[in-house]
Symmetry: C2
């Protein structure tokens, strides 16, 4: 390929003047917000330190990642995994350091993420003390690399019906692990196809022909000498996916594989030498890890949405197109109300998710000791809350990122824009760790119990306590000022959510009174129940945002509080507007209030406008990690797009090799000039 | 890789019994519906004939397409293009044959689509008779391969500000085409980077320093001898995209490239030897092609949504998971109301789009002669209608496909499921041929004029005539029967749309009365105006669906009409429910009606349930074209998933080559058995 016709050396270029002006005109100090997002100035410093280390290594610079095939992507991910492990040993990283570092390399594009995320936690939670002493050091020192093999081809959501069997053979004191039919093969576990040499395999325990439910077993998959699969083990990758192709999500077929009895993870239950099954602890204690991962997903939803907003807002400040005043020049597309309506609710949602995930994480650590002790009420409440939040945050993240991507026009379709990658990685959050529709129903079940409890006892505690309050006298939204009263907005949300739940409960009740079995009534109102859980989840996002703002008022600058207050109002009003029918149906607002609500919503867009770029900047993701030609910090987007195109291997030759094979044939027999 | 552990030979397997039972229990004859979708039994026959021909050629069987890199994908697309051209010559295909054939090969994965879709139509519309005689035969016989180069890196929506220049040089009787700066390079045109040797280039005509606006020029890009770019021409592909990577979307930089004066396309305007510019015809006549493409997009939106629904419904009939009755067995996920609520509105929307695109296409051909003659009123109406329909159909298709994909759980994330491919290809429809937000505003502008006209004249004609009617006395929806009265539902939609538009007009008017310039008032209410246009577009979808059903009542069987009537009701009620706040705001429904509406909506889901698979079958896409392991006709999905995984090149070796390079390093120094 010839030299570029236009200069693409962005290092020697001044930044885009529009973007510079935006930054100068921001009403608050971006660093203050960055510190809040990092968890304090010291954590910001540490993050930047780790970023610097990571970016110093060619394994992570990966300019050409776009052109790797899947096998090369996997290889690169393996290299990254190894590098992180080496560093963590060399520099004696804390767990938090490791997580921070992994976060910076963009969607943790590693090969053996399941080792740390699932395998080691399983060894910590599910083993006996003796097993812990034996396996944990091996795993922590990467002497063995493992994954967690639960989901099967035919069963994901319905764990109880997983089909892999582990049959006790008393004659040899072994378990025989088997995949009885095609639907029973393990399917999807990350790091399974190529990377792991061990797995915790979930299987139906059978002793003397009797089933004892799902139990975890340590199974060696591959030789530690040459990494070849051991006898009876068939495994591989499951094939290309929409995204996350750097990970070797795999399948596993066990053909009567024998393992010692001691390889059953015996922390919660055990099998004795003579084939006696003993339940030692409730297996509910496992739930805490599941909750933890769901809290993390709310955090990741924030992260990928914030990264997408960074791209979309910066580009919208740089891109000029069409006119507002026909006599003026072309305007920044950030100035169009329709564009603001695509961008700013996404930013408001990102912050609402951030504050919610912060609160959820703090709550999690606060209640964890009680959960482990077996506090059933708290377990039920946090199971319901984390399910709801995982579902709504992943749903909202994907919805907003889709809108953000479309807001960039054709250029948002380019892989070099990075936002397609953010979109695809957000899509994984919707499906992993529980189907959202199933999760919402679990939350609905818990909330309806609380509604019933409130009716019989009058008073509730915890996150559902508002269901026991009399909210009939909540003031109506009347004036524009009311639309900016976040405590009033929260009350309106609570009134709506309470009434929607009571209504859903009433529908169920009416069917039960008619003699319908409960399951039939449930299925008849399934959509209503899911919607009621969604309404609760939305209310909870508003609540966490309002509470966070009340706290920030004590510590943050008034300029920043003002900006975050606007975002909080916009979040509440945007979703109120979007779901206005639901609010009206239960009388939480009336149809004539909608004009005022919409007017303030639009007013907020124009108030947020001057701070949009500063808000987008606040997560402080360096270009080298963000990797978006449209979302770069200096705004020289067109030069970067051109440079990225020139780097395409298809541009290495002027004539594509296939020309001679195909196209030439249909055009031949004509002279070179018309 | 070893032999499969489980049988994957689906040819010798009986079909999935659940799916078979679904087909037996359908209430209508699928073939009748297939004929309607094809346009009659004779067209079904012809389609199948062409399908058979295509599938007989290895270029189109493409089992391993998933594993091609982009360069190989492009090469395959070039081969397909050539094959279609050869066949069309050999078998003397009609235009319709060609389109049908291209449709079957799934998203027309060809390299030179722009040649037929844009280059030839441009030559037909924009040239003088002399030019037509010279260039058309060359293009029609593929002696030259062309594309249409309009969009630039810095300008897509704002055509008037395109920056490429064509300066007349009277001394040589030539135009000098030039790309003055980086933002001016042509960027995005399909088939540009590698395939085309000619392009119609849109450039700013300059004569004697004076601008004469955008004009089209025929520019040779590559040698017809060796396909090398001609001097002064720099071109290549723009880099990887989210999808459509088989096409060589390209960039083009023109460095003072000289072309003869006769190479300006002189159908609408001309430049004489002495540099006189003459406008011959209004350039509005170009609009008809734009409208045609927009109608096609409504049709493609239907196609890709129907293909996605085929996948999702068939798999939902095969997949069993969890229980409704806890004492019963696992149920087909198609039996969950929440699943039905994801699937059936998508089907209803697909049919509404189909009927609408049918009507739009018939209307287009009916009014085309008047459009060409320059009927300005009709032009404005059809410009508004086609803009609105392109926008709403592409928006709804992507929204529904996203829901359908998620409804398949993790397996919907597999590329072998095909639905990710459908989703990505639907996303292109949102962005091409006009940004939807811009299109909605064009429609809003037209409709507000009609509102004003109705206020002054009282009576309107055409698709906006309902705006002139008194709809105050439209009956309220009260009973469940009212919810199934499609003519009443249409009236409620029209009442809503009329009032929303009048309201939006009122907001604008109030600002104008206060002395605001029109553009300022517009930008202040931009979101409201876009929403008003969306409301109209939705109403028009309902209207076309209702009208189609009224016609079908004359010709179709009563069984089929009953099923299509249910879908029509569901479509209307689903979107009424989703937008209920908007209907309530203007009093088209009241909050207390929502219970009835929701109840009937749920009732319709269970009525559609027995016909779901038959409806999914009706587009009659053979497996070989559909290429979805989850959506296959016989329902042997798990065997196909396993077979697809085994075909992954990463499974050719048991140990990935990178193991020795990376992972081994961190695991070494341990014996082979724990």
């Amino acid at each position: 390929m010839a030299a570029p016709v236009f200069n693409t050396n962005t290092d020697s270029m001044p930044p885009n003047p529009d973007l510079q002006k935006e930054r100068e005109n921001a009403s608050f100090n971006v660093k203050e917000l960055t510190h809040i997002l990092d968890g304090g100035p010291e954590k910001t410093r540490r993050r930047k330190e780790l970023e610097k280390l990571i970016l110093s290594d060619p394994a992570f610079s990966s300019k050409d990642l776009l052109y790797l095939n899947r096998s090369e992507e996997y290889e690169n991910a393996a290299l990254r995994s190894v590098r992180l492990v080496e560093w963590s040993k060399k520099y004696q990283w804390s767990e938090e350091d490791f997580a921070t570092a992994a976060q910076q390399i963009n969607n943790s594009a590693e090969a053996i993420t399941l080792h740390k995320d699932m395998f080691i936690p399983a060894l910590e939670r599910l083993t006996s003390e003796e097993q812990k002493a034996k396996w944990l050091p091996l795993a922590l020192n990467y002497k063995i690399i493992g994954t967690y093999a639960q989901t099967e081809l035919g069963h994901g959501t319905n764990l109880r019906n997983l089909e892999t069997t582990a049959t006790f053979d008393p004659s040899t004191d072994e378990f025989v692990l088997n995949t009885p039919k095609i639907t029973s093969m393990k399917w999807w576990p990350g790091s399974l196809g190529k990377s792991s040499n061990h797995a915790v395999v979930l299987a139906q325990l059978i002793i003397n022909g009797k089933g004892y439910g799902l139990q975890p077993f340590m199974v060696q998959l591959r030789s530690l000498e040459d990494h070849m699969p051991l006898p009876g083990i068939s495994l591989g990758v499951i094939g290309p996916k929409m995204a996350v192709n750097y990970n070797d999500n795999g399948f596993l077929i066990l053909s009567k594989v024998r393992i010692p009895r001691e390889n059953m993870l015996m922390g919660n239950a055990m099998v004795t030498r003579d084939g006696q099954f003993k339940q030692l602890k409730s297996d509910k204690s496992n739930y805490s890890t599941m909750m933890y991962v769901r809290v993390l997903i709310t955090r990741w939803s924030y992260g990928v949405l914030a990264a997408s907003a960074m791209t979309a807002i910066r580009y919208s400040a740089v891109r000029r197109q069409l006119y507002i005043d026909p006599k003026g020049g072309e305007v920044q597309i950030l100035d169009y109300q329709t564009q603001q309506y695509k961008l700013f609710p996404a930013v408001a949602t990102a912050f609402a998710m951030f504050f919610t995930s912060q609160k959820m994480l703090a709550d999690y650590y606060r209640v964890l000791p009680s959960l482990i002790k077996g506090d059933k009420e708290l377990l039920a409440e946090y199971h319901s809350l984390t399910s709801a939040l995982k579902a709504i945050c992943s749903d909202y993240a994907t919805d907003h990122i889709d809108v953000l991507r479309k807001s960039l026009g054709g250029h948002g379709f380019m892989m070099s824009a990075a936002i397609p990658r953010f979109m695809l990685s957000a899509l994984t959050l919707v499906t992993v760790e529980g189907d959202n529709t199933v999760l919402y129903q679990q939350t609905a079940r818990y909330l309806l119990k609380q509604v019933a409890l409130a009716a019989s006892q009058g008073k509730l505690t915890g996150s559902a306590s508002y269901l026991g309050q009399n909210l009939d006298n909540v003031r109506q939204i009347e004036t524009p000022e009311d639309c900016r009263d976040i405590h009033l907005l929260l009350q309106v949300y609570q009134k709506m959510s309470q009434r929607i739940l009571i209504r859903a409960g009433g529908l169920l009740q009416a069917d039960l009174m008619e003699g319908k079995p409960e399951y039939e009534a449930w299925i008849k109102h399934q959509v209503t129940l899911v919607n009621a859980a969604k309404a609760f989840s939305l209310m909870h996002l508003v609540r966490c945002n309002v509470e966070a703002l009340d706290e920030l008022r004590q510590s943050a600058s008034s300029e920043l509080v003002l900006v975050l207050h606007r975002l909080c109002c916009l979040f509440a009003l945007y979703y109120l507007d979007l779901n206005s029918g639901m609010f009206m149906q239960v009388g939480a607002i009336s149809p004539d209030q909608l004009d005022t609500i919409k007017a303030v919503e639009m007013q907020l867009l124009s108030e947020i406008r001057p701070d949009a770029v500063a808000l987008a900047d606040s997560p402080d993701i360096p270009d080298e990690c963000h990797k978006s030609v449209l979302g770069c910090y200096d705004g020289n987007v067109y030069e970067r797009m051109y440079a990225a195109a020139l780097a395409d291997p298809m541009n290495k030759t002027q004539v594509h090799p296939s020309y001679h094979k195909y196209l030439r044939g249909i055009t031949k027999s004509i002279s070179s000039k018309l």
